[in-house]
């Protein structure tokens, strides 16, 4: 009996490693930007090329940066969540970053699916997205009053993600 204990023990340890390792999503790359100041940006407004949207506009507020594009099917999936949230009283502002898209497609998409954004920045060449470490839309960043990134959600923000992962953190930061 004793001679089986060591291999069995090793097997259980291996099983533990595999259980943890295989349940991780390899698409979720941890961001080195968490708890670091968000990159500075000044971009043209999606609706009005004459106006700009920049990080400094949002200083003093807790806000969300939602990276989206008209070519991104998952963005369509999460969009109703933001549409509903933006209408709730006391909602924190959501800034849209229209990433690697063209203006007409982006505007048409917002007209069709609704526009929950306090402001929409137009990042046509994708540079601001790269500075934020974006590698696929949708991605959503929670940024505090001092412009520091506090949380990042890679992928679709469902109602559950919003209520359990994002809003509790946002309330904590807003104190």
């Amino acid at each position: 009996m004793n001679r089986f204990l060591l291999p069995l023990g090793l097997f259980i340890v291996l099983l533990g490693f595999l259980a943890v390792g295989l349940n991780r999503d390899p698409r979720e790359v941890p961001s080195p930007l968490i708890d670091k100041p968000a990159p500075e940006f000044t971009l043209p407004h999606l609706h009005d090329p004459g106006k700009t949207v920049s990080k400094s506009d949002m200083l003093g507020k807790v806000w969300l940066l939602n990276v989206w594009a008209s070519w991104c099917p998952s963005c369509r999936e999460e969009h109703p969540v933001f549409n509903t949230y933006a209408k709730t009283p006391g909602a924190i502002p959501v800034v849209g970053l229209n990433w690697k898209d063209n203006r007409e497609d982006g505007l048409r998409w917002l007209a069709r699916f609704g526009d929950p954004y306090a402001a929409s920045a137009y990042d046509n060449d994708g540079r601001v997205g790269i500075n934020f470490g974006v590698y696929g839309a949708p991605e959503t960043f929670l940024i505090d009053k001092n412009g520091v990134i506090r949380f990042k959600k890679i992928g679709v923000v469902t109602q559950e993600v919003l209520e359990k992962e994002i809003l509790p953190r946002a309330r904590e930061l807003d104190k």
């Binding site: 941890p30 961001s31 080195p32 690697k100 790269i130 470490g133 590698y135």
Partner: protein, 152 residues
């Protein structure tokens, strides 16, 4: 007719050029060479089993554009990699850096090797001491010699 053939031939040539990999607007071969060198050690984040040099994902093309810009600005290879690591983390490097969180990763194989050698040595010692204790009786020696003779 000749004109048509020439047009077709040039189309084929153009197709051949367009199908080549990862050399968009290669105006400076030296820059492109460094780009390919650096990018082949970096992971594409969209197609994670492809290098940044080989991937045709739109993001990889954008990142190559950024790297190309940095090279033209005269940045060193280390600075270019830092640019990407500061945005995307160590994950973009195919060769992870040695630091406390990766000590096990780098040292693990050597630990396993040491454990294996230690197990082997202790096993051989135990076996050696057991084998050493076995003495043949005279009867057994005769039988063994007879068997050996039979075989020859």
């Amino acid at each position: 007719m000749k004109l048509l053939l020439a047009a077709l031939a040039s189309l084929c040539l153009a197709g051949g050029v367009a199908a080549r990999e990862a050399v968009p607007l290669a105006e400076d071969p030296a820059v492109e060479e460094r780009l390919v060198n650096i990018a082949s050690e970096l992971r594409c984040l969209v197609c994670q089993n492809e290098s940044l040099a080989g991937s045709q994902a739109p993001l990889a093309q954008d990142l190559r554009r950024e790297v190309r810009g940095l090279i033209k600005e005269g940045k060193s290879d280390v600075e270019v990699k830092d640019f990407l690591v500061s945005r995307y983390g160590d994950f973009v490097l195919y060769q992870p850096p040695v630091k406390p969180t990766t000590w096990l990763l780098w040292g693990g194989p050597f630990l396993l090797l040491i454990a294996g050698v230690a197990t082997l040595v202790s096993y051989l010692r135990r076996r050696g001491s057991q084998v050493g204790r076995v003495e043949l009786t005279d009867e057994e020696k005769k039988r063994a010699e007879a068997l050996l003779k039979d075989n020859s």
